[in-house]
């Protein structure tokens, strides 16, 4: 029973020590010491989470900590799941981070600020789910937001583009905070208390309209944190510019907080709601899934591609949460539990493969200085471990067996298939559409990761820096190996999570499903004749591959001739420039989805002066802008800039005018008071 507070206290102590060490130590011991302490924070968080998942609960009030109300903390299985995921990711990425930051001088991630912030950010990731009152939650939430912002800016001296990404991230994450403040204030005011217990108790007394508004505000803020459209614009900017380990932490642990907040507030505190909430969430999830994966398909920046894949996967999770609420609002609680279990399992799987994807991408960037897939290539022989890790994580991300993403997508699809039991026209329209969107995103995700792996890591290098790349240092490889082991375990024996997943679902008041039954390698759905055994699939594939590789060898009478020339239709020995690039690979898909992606092409033809028919230079530019951003953000930004320009006219420098403003202001205020009272 005392495991949770002990582990949490350890995490806090290690985090504080890490921050102090980051500030105080000189560069050489700083990185390893902070790294080890951060890894300790992760391990302690994972231990606390695992203890909560195994059925322990813990709650406390620390009245001295947050001045007016005191800090309220409570740990149940749902919080435990997110703590365990965050802790495990932090532990593995911290090990990776030591290797990443070491040996690169004290700029970037090795700097004093970044090293001091890193343990605090890691700690906040573990602690956000612990909060049990609005003020505690918002405080920890803001610590994680500010911490990630400072870490995103770590390499601002190396690349100018980091600053712009930082501004976008700062604005959008704080827009989310404003929405959260508004939503929680409204909720707390109507429910008559700011502790989660008070909110839970008072939620039923809140009028339906207010509940809807609270849900809309909170859902917008939380989906923005998860990187779902339309408030996703920070994601493709911040992730690519952040150093590798930071991007891994943000994409694998921080986005989960959005899902946690949504599940905690909407399903637990508000206690569910009418169907329109959930249909809205399904729409956001479906749109994010397809839009994210389409943007990933046309991205040629490796980290941007992986970042947009986060948008896609969080979309899938949101579909699961939305389906859960929809089923619960129709009273089908076992099915709701199944959908939520699928969503939570996908959160776990996504954390594992996305952390590894970003770690591998960070390793590529560190050893080549490149993120552009069009210039990479041939890395499989120069960075064999990194390439292998990327391949393993990509298999998880495309949701095909034997990858780990397959199990959770399978569960999600099962919950939607059986949604036909739920009556209602809205359900009958929404569920097939959700299935279609999941299927479409799964199909395109396959193309996305074939592109990333095939163009970035296979074939031959298209750039000198890619050709001279060297494998990452051992500690980075060790961090990636830890994540790889987690992926394999999740893929082959998802039953390891078994009862913990059921308890997490049970924490929001839904019955457990027993879908991922305890300890076993088999996924079986109670009451539905469907089962899946990932271990069996792996065994069958292995058993089939062995004879397929062996039998042709038996007939072959001569030995293998290696290093024969490539045939290439008689052309022979193609140069690296002739291979397909990421842009050319994605061109057919981009053409298919022309109307959605709206690519921009400019062809500037400069003729020689004497004749318009003789061309001196042709310049071709092609880019695929983020269309939602273009349509939604640009007008707002233009309007703001216009208002700012117009407002400059107000300040003409005349003191008389300023006195006049003051007088007018006073008159308006007095009038308002006179009329208002």
């Amino acid at each position: 029973m005392s495991a949770i507070p002990a582990a949490l206290a350890t995490a806090v102590a290690l985090g504080g020590a890490g921050a102090a060490a980051g500030l105080a130590l000189p560069y050489r011991p700083r990185v390893p010491v902070v790294g080890v302490l951060t890894a300790g924070v992760g391990v302690a968080g994972a231990v606390a989470g695992a203890a909560a998942l195994s059925g322990n609960r813990w709650a406390a009030v620390c009245s001295g900590l947050v001045p007016p109300a005191g800090a309220q903390v409570a740990v149940d299985a749902l919080a435990g799941l997110f703590m365990a995921v965050a802790g495990a990711v932090v532990a593995a990425v911290a090990v990776y981070g030591i290797g990443y930051a070491a040996g690169r001088g004290s700029g970037g991630l090795g700097s004093r600020t970044a090293q001091a912030v890193l343990p605090l950010f890691a700690l906040s990731l573990v602690l956000v789910p612990v909060a049990a009152s609005v003020s505690t939650f918002l405080l920890l939430w803001e610590v994680s937001a500010l911490g990630s912002l400072l870490l995103v800016l770590a390499e601002h001296q190396q690349h100018a583009s980091v600053r712009q990404a930082g501004v976008w991230y700062a604005v959008l994450t704080h827009l989310g905070l404003v929405l959260l403040l508004a939503g929680f204030s409204l909720f707390a005011a109507r429910a008559g208390g700011e502790t989660f217990t008070a909110l839970r108790a008072g939620a039923s007394g809140v009028p339906a309209g207010v509940r809807g508004l609270v849900f809309a505000l909170l859902a917008l803020a939380f989906t923005s944190k998860a990187g779902a459209v339309p408030l996703h614009a920070w994601l493709p900017r911040a992730y690519p510019e952040a150093p590798g380990p930071v991007a891994a932490l943000m994409s694998a642990a921080m986005v989960n907080l959005g899902i946690y907040g949504l599940v905690r507030t909407a399903l637990d505190l508000l206690g569910g709601g009418p169907a329109w909430w959930w249909l809205g969430l399904l729409a956001v999830g479906g749109a994010s899934a397809v839009y994210g994966v389409l943007q990933a398909a046309v991205a040629s920046d490796l980290k941007r591609l992986v970042a947009y894949s986060s948008s896609e996967n969080m979309g899938l999770v949101l579909i699961g949460v939305g389906a859960c609420g929809l089923f619960a609002s129709h009273g089908d609680r076992p099915l709701a539990a199944l959908a939520l279990a699928a969503a939570l399992l996908h959160v776990v799987n996504h954390a594992a493969f996305k952390a590894l994807l970003f770690c591998a991408a960070g390793s590529v960037q560190r050893s080549t200085g490149l993120r552009d897939l069009d210039r990479l290539g041939g890395l499989r022989s120069r960075l064999p471990v990194t390439a292998g890790c990327f391949a393993l994580a990509a298999l998880g991300a495309v949701a095909l067996p034997p990858g780990n993403g397959f199990v959770s997508e399978w569960l999600l699809l099962q919950s939607l298939v059986h949604g036909r039991q739920v009556p209602g026209v809205a359900v009958a329209v929404a569920l097939p559409l959700s299935v279609a969107l999941i299927a479409l995103s799964a199909g395109i995700a396959a193309a996305v990761f074939v592109k990333a792996l095939g163009v970035g890591f296979f074939a031959r290098p298209r750039d000198r820096r890619a050709a001279s790349a060297r494998e990452a240092p051992p500690l980075m490889l060790a961090g990636m190996a830890l994540l790889a082991v987690a992926i394999v375990a999740l893929a082959v024996v998802p039953g390891l999570l078994g009862d913990g997943l059921d308890r997490a679902v049970g924490a929001v008041g839904l019955p457990g499903t027993g879908a991922v039954s305890g300890g076993g390698a088999r996924v079986r759905l109670a009451g539905i004749s469907a089962s899946l055994s990932p271990l069996w699939v792996v065994a069958a594939l292995t058993a089939a591959i062995l004879p397929a590789t062996g039998l042709p060898r038996l007939r072959g009478r001569r030995g293998r001739r290696v290093n024969a020339r490539l045939w290439d239709c008689g052309g022979g020995a193609p140069t690296p420039r002739m291979t397909y690039t990421a842009t050319s690979f994605a061109e057919p898909l981009q053409r298919v989805f022309d109307d959605v992606l709206a690519p921009e092409q400019h062809v500037d033809v400069t003729p020689v002066r004497e004749s318009a028919y003789l061309v001196r230079r042709v310049r071709f530019r092609h880019r695929v802008p983020d269309r939602i951003e273009h349509r939604l953000y640009d007008p707002v930004l233009r309007a703001l800039a216009g208002a700012g320009q117009a407002a400059r006219g107000l300040a003409g420098g005349s003191v008389h005018l300023y006195l006049g403003y003051g007088f007018a202001g006073l008159v308006v205020l007095l009038l308002a008071l006179a009329v208002g009272w």
């Binding site: 298939v417 097939p432 279609a436 999941i438 095939g454 055994s533 397929a548 050319s584 298919v592």
Partner: protein, 319 residues
């Protein structure tokens, strides 16, 4: 379920798909040849080609990596596992509890992805071009496959294929429902695209600008090429077998009985022969469509599948 006959059925399915795949291809080429007024090379020609290729020297071109070498085996292995899972001869097999349609679709996609990666791995322009086109088609086919799977699994209440097939045998009316018919049409287009047949891809083309599948495998030679060809033939057999199991399920054994199994085997061969002949005959009259018209065809089949799912929900939704 754990009776010996079940294992015989699974072994029989894999064997009949493996041994029959080249024969089906040979048969389809023969039908095409006859319809075009040629004599044809005979039904056994693909086997003769495979024997010839297997005797040749294995070659590993310079600059290719593990993906290039592993892809042929992966292609054949995924097809073999899928053949073991599907109820081609019997719905009552030891693996029928694992035979989920989503798993089967995913295994088929896994083979496609392996081959596309191999195309990119060779580093040639043709390999990349083939991979790019194949993944474009595959990314649009997979949703159609999954959706038609759903349309079929909704009335059955499960995605388990033997359960769907057994249900269809006992309640033939399910097949004639609007959802079932729409799903057939969608699935048929998806199968044509996934196996690289006309009108999506021309299986016998060697004109570089039009080919999809062939462009990916240009660098293979000898035993590897034999395995790639064999894998592609197995996929064709498998997907046609899936179509026949789902929509003409009669004759598939539902219990442990030798006679039922033999009848199922004979009927399976007959069904595939007829389906193969129909497809070959259709290919004589169709032309391959332009690559950028293919997505229109696939979008059409995707919509059909979506309609099938929606129809299933509305017709079977209210309990």
């Amino acid at each position: 379920m754990t009776h010996g006959l079940g294992y015989v059925a699974v072994a029989g399915q894999v064997t009949v798909v493996a041994a029959g795949a080249p024969l089906l291809t040979g048969w389809m080429r023969q039908v095409r040849a006859r319809l075009e007024g040629r004599a044809g090379a005979g039904v056994l020609q693909p086997w003769r080609d495979a024997r010839k290729l297997l005797r040749k020297e294995p070659v590993t071109p310079v600059g290719t990596g593990p993906a290039f070498r592993a892809a042929p085996a992966l292609l054949a292995a995924t097809a073999a596992v899928a053949a073991a899972l599907l109820p081609l001869l019997s719905t009552d097999t030891p693996v029928s509890g694992h035979a989920d349609l989503i798993v089967v679709v995913a295994l088929i996609s896994l083979g496609t992805i392996g081959l596309a990666l191999a195309g990119l791995d060779s580093g040639t322009a043709f390999g990349g071009m083939g991979a790019s086109r194949e993944m474009t088609v595959a990314s649009l086919v997979e949703p159609t496959l999954l959706l038609s799977v759903f349309a079929l699994s909704i009335p059955a209440g499960t995605t388990n294929v033997p359960a769907i097939v057994a249900g269809a045998i006992h309640q033939p009316a399910r097949l004639a429902s609007p959802a079932g018919l729409l799903a057939v049409a969608a699935l048929a287009v998806a199968v044509l695209a996934e196996t690289g047949r006309i009108p999506v891809d021309n299986p016998s083309t060697h004109l570089e600008l039009t080919m999809i599948h062939e462009a990916m495998v240009l660098e293979y030679a000898g035993p590897d090429l034999a395995l790639v060809e064999f894998g592609a033939q197995m996929r064709l057999t498998l997907l046609l077998g899936l179509l026949s199991s789902l929509f003409v399920p009669w004759g598939i054994a539902t219990g442990p009985s030798w006679t039922a199994l033999v009848v199922a085997l004979v009927l399976f061969v007959v069904k595939l022969t007829v389906l193969g002949a129909l497809l070959a005959a259709a290919e004589v009259f169709w032309a391959k469509i332009r690559l950028f018209r293919v997505p229109e065809l696939l979008a059409g089949s995707f919509l059909l599948a979506l309609l099938a799912v929606t129809a299933s929900y509305f017709l079977n939704g209210a309990p």
